[in-house]
Symmetry: C2
Subunit: 221 residues, 2 copies
């Protein structure tokens, strides 16, 4: 097979180029003393709903910018803009993740000096986004309890790369065959340093703890 | 940028090579008059639970083979084997989808002549698997109502490529802000020919219609 070595080389080139641009992004963030979160999950785990809650909670206190990544549509940017956040939408046109170059291009549309925090809402995908650094301070992943308690073992990279795990939709637990203790045990077996929050944007459960974490992070500016 | 043309060329090479092997798989399936389904969804939408239900329903009637695709673990193959299905596990070791070559290798471990139906449970990912034909008769996608009603617009390729949409976990609808009519409307706006089943493996709702569809498909052998 001639394809294989070429393919491996190209993947390495792509990741090297990404890493270089991620470092440029990082320098820009540092210049503005801006903290940046790369928020990742499966489709529909509740990333945008959480951002809407953060918009309400920090209104008038923290200026939060959001870069929205979707394959198509500007639906999410419209939702978070309606919640008072400064939003930019990236449509990846088929690409399954955001990379550092897409972020670099989007940054031109945000007034970084005015922001206290930047959240990048990645494409809904539990696999590919974890491979691409964008210059962030923290990878934060979200896993909905509706996805089941075996997911850390099946998608280990994202759990390994993340600083924080948000276990979302915990209000649905009474209706599911899902053991949240198993999720936490499995996640910590892969990444013992994970900070875990159990949340529901629907009922508000657990959001105070998450918002406190965000407030401390943004205060470092 | 020098990377871009090279990258595009390599992606085309990969898809061309995949297409060639998919045709070889197709010939093998035809030789055995075997119907093949490529089952795709986000992580945790309920693919494996549905296969468990199919194992119970068709016990002693249809011999169903399953190829399980996961990044890591053999958890799903163990579950469907326990439900009486002939299971083979592919661990993709990081890859975000199954391709025709992985399927070709796995077929050596199945007695195709003895099967009435083969189901390939793809890696949990609403993006990448839709790009890779494996020689299947039908792409069948599953979307859980917990993922929200905006997903067809945000992940159009999989909806476009699929023959069947299984809307899963409908028992949870009373607890969600999700309008199932919006899901169907959006999905049909992208693919007017989609056959749609509303199901719950938890309560059994809608499974009879799906099983009837499967029975008719397998009867063509």
């Amino acid at each position: 097979m001639k394809e294989e070595p070429l393919r491996v080389a190209v993947v390495k080139n792509i990741l090297d180029a990404n890493s270089r641009i991620a470092q440029e992004n990082r320098k820009l963030f540092d210049m503005h003393r801006l903290r940046v979160i790369n928020l990742m999950s499966s489709p529909g785990a509740g990333k945008t709903s959480l951002l809407e809650e953060m918009g309400k909670r920090f209104e008038g206190q923290l200026k939060i910018g959001v870069i929205e990544g979707d394959i198509q549509t500007t639906l999410d940017a419209e939702r978070v803009a309606a919640a008072g956040l400064a939003a930019v939408q990236i449509e990846t046109d088929g690409a399954c993740h955001l990379d550092a170059n897409m972020i670099q291009n989007a940054l031109a549309d945000l007034n970084l000096a005015a922001l206290n925090l930047l959240v990048v809402e990645n494409v809904g995908n539990l696999v590919c986004p974890a491979e691409f650094n964008i210059g962030e301070d923290h990878k934060v992943m979200m896993l909905s309890v509706t996805e089941g308690d075996d997911k850390p073992y099946k998608y280990p990279l994202m759990f390994r790369e993340s600083s924080v795990l948000l276990i979302s939709k915990v209000d649905l637990l009474p209706h599911l065959r899902c053991d949240i203790e198993k999720i936490k045990e499995a996640a910590r077996s892969i990444n013992p340093d994970l900070i875990i929050f159990e949340i529901s944007s629907y009922t508000g459960q657990g959001l105070d703890d998450w918002h406190n974490w965000i407030q401390k992070l943004a205060a470092k500016k």
